[in-house]
Symmetry: C2
Subunit: 328 residues, 2 copies
């Protein structure tokens, strides 16, 4: 399998679809990005994806692609490639794999978007060469992927790796999932925003200083307060923002300590928008893990930032297609 | 590999050594148990184990055993069978596998005791036939084993499955590991005893009622208060004991929700002394998981009590030996 082997990777989310031609070395050869028109429904979106794939294929290498890999923000039946539930797309039981295979006459594999991104980081990013790794993507929500003994964990119903929903503070604030104190409810982007809005409401003077430090001009609407604003204010040394970041760091340390003790990986790879906004957290989390996780579980551990950033999804999806469909 | 295939399983803990002849169906054919004389040191203990194995072998089947499996309460190098650290035995870097192999001229495999017990439950207990399961043993401490996709997870340095040290309450009480709010620090036997002693100290009248309900006679020493006493008082409807059991149940629900969301098993098997003392917790934990874990992660889930009880260790260790060493 040489560099001439390539595949098409698709990253399908609630706001955008990205399609890329990716070679066996993980290099993106061609790419296309479009907004996802969720309101048009599954048929129209699948038709748009097929059209994007045809376009990328026309401008890609002259050899035929090994196949198509799709990472979708939702729950996937691994055997059938049916998207069982994708809340951001408002999809239920959509036969994405069958539909694209029929349209394209190419083999198609479908997986969860976070797992696709984990494939990307594992094969072509910060996880290269590791047999035991965890990717934790801390964005608006928190998700992850786990490789153990050289295999991606799938679980009994293909949902292994819901690492945002490990209970980190059993008395903590409510989570969108119906439980409370999930890692995501303490350190996900939406939770950071919630915490900042509450803190600003509770302490108006400190809140004013926070907004000034973040460079926000009055009037400020609640939806203007997000994790990026907190990061900006913290980087401008605002005490309230720094307190919030300290709390986020503490939650991420507690949550990753759980993961290290449970899975014993040799690499913990931290990605997602919150980590990109607060890159200093990587070292803080690493130091916290070394302090609080079991010594035996951290002997071989490296804590690293994700390398592929926004490309992890398409690169990983294409990598999975090459691995599944390319002749050896 | 028929029923005539058998192996020797050893369960080596800080208080007792158990050696058994076990057939390929998981049936114990012969067994011996002795106290562990920790004070005599590794050489003497290994000699005693070798003598016990010889004795069991003499009274076991006439065919030679496939080999010996040892589960030891400590951290093991999987490649060399060296016991790296076993605090209850006061062992560091003890070459258990080499020593027993030399003494016995049989192949010997060494693993962690909790992982051996997980092998036992997986192959011959409540986990039979499952490809994705978690065994959680809630005794004085809490440990576990995880099977995912039909494979026992080992991790990068063979410590995967330290499920007692997932952070469940990041503001919780200190754990013996140096962190705080670990599942074990909330629901392990030692933590239940600590909580009961504190509660009795804080509320003397309620404490007196608790001690009467548990059937303890004055004078009561602090070490008389343990998880079994709490279970006895709770079963006698003592309000303080029931409050403590409610807290334990809540912690175990939060912790197992984390495990279900992270690993997505089809079976969660609950064992250990605390579960044997409070068997009603199995259904409570199952109901809590169904309420608080992600729906997609619980679709295929059964929550079951462990079946092999105290035999899981020797049966599992022998099973591992048969699997590793028996001709196929």
């Amino acid at each position: 399998m040489g560099r001439e082997t390539w595949a098409i990777g698709v990253d399908l989310g609630g706001t955008k679809v990205e399609v890329a031609a990716v070679d066996a070395g993980g290099t993106i050869l061609q790419r296309l990005k479009q907004p996802t028109h969720v309101e048009t429904g599954p048929d129209s979106i699948m038709a748009a994806i097929a059209a994007m794939i045809k376009q990328v294929r026309e401008h890609g290498p002259q050899t035929p692609p090994a196949g198509v890999g799709v990472g979708v923000a939702g729950q996937v039946n691994a055997a059938t490639g049916v998207v069982r539930f994708a809340p951001n797309l408002n999809w239920r039981e959509v036969p994405l794999q069958d539909r694209l295979q029929t349209d394209l006459t190419l083999p198609v594999g479908v997986t969860n978007d976070v797992r696709a991104a984990t494939w990307g980081e594992w094969r072509h990013g910060a996880g290269q060469g590791a047999e035991d790794l965890i990717c934790l993507f801390i964005g608006t929500g928190i998700g992850g992927g786990v490789v153990s003994g050289g295999r991606m964990l799938e679980g009994a119903t293909n949902t292994a790796g819901e690492l945002g929903h490990i209970t980190t503070d059993l008395n903590g604030p409510p989570c969108t999932c119906g439980h409370r104190g999930c890692l995501e409810a303490l350190a996900g982007g939406w939770a950071i925003a919630r915490r900042a809005r509450e803190a600003i409401g509770d302490a108006p003077a400190a809140g004013q200083a926070f907004l000034r430090a973040a460079g926000l001009k009055e009037p400020v609407a609640p939806e203007d307060i997000n994790a990026a604003v907190v990061a900006a204010a913290a980087h401008a040394h605002d005490p309230l923002a720094r307190l919030i970041v300290d709390e986020v760091a503490r939650a991420l340390i507690a949550g990753t300590v759980s993961l290290i003790n449970a899975f014993n990986p040799s690499r913990l790879i931290l990605g997602g928008g919150v980590m990109q906004g607060l890159p200093e957290l990587t070292d803080r989390i690493g130091a916290g893990i070394r302090r609080f996780a079991l010594n035996a579980a951290t002997e071989a551990l490296e804590v690293l930032p994700a390398r592929l950033k926004g490309d992890a999804g398409v690169v990983g999806a294409a990598t999975l297609a090459i691995q599944s469909f390319a002749p050896r």
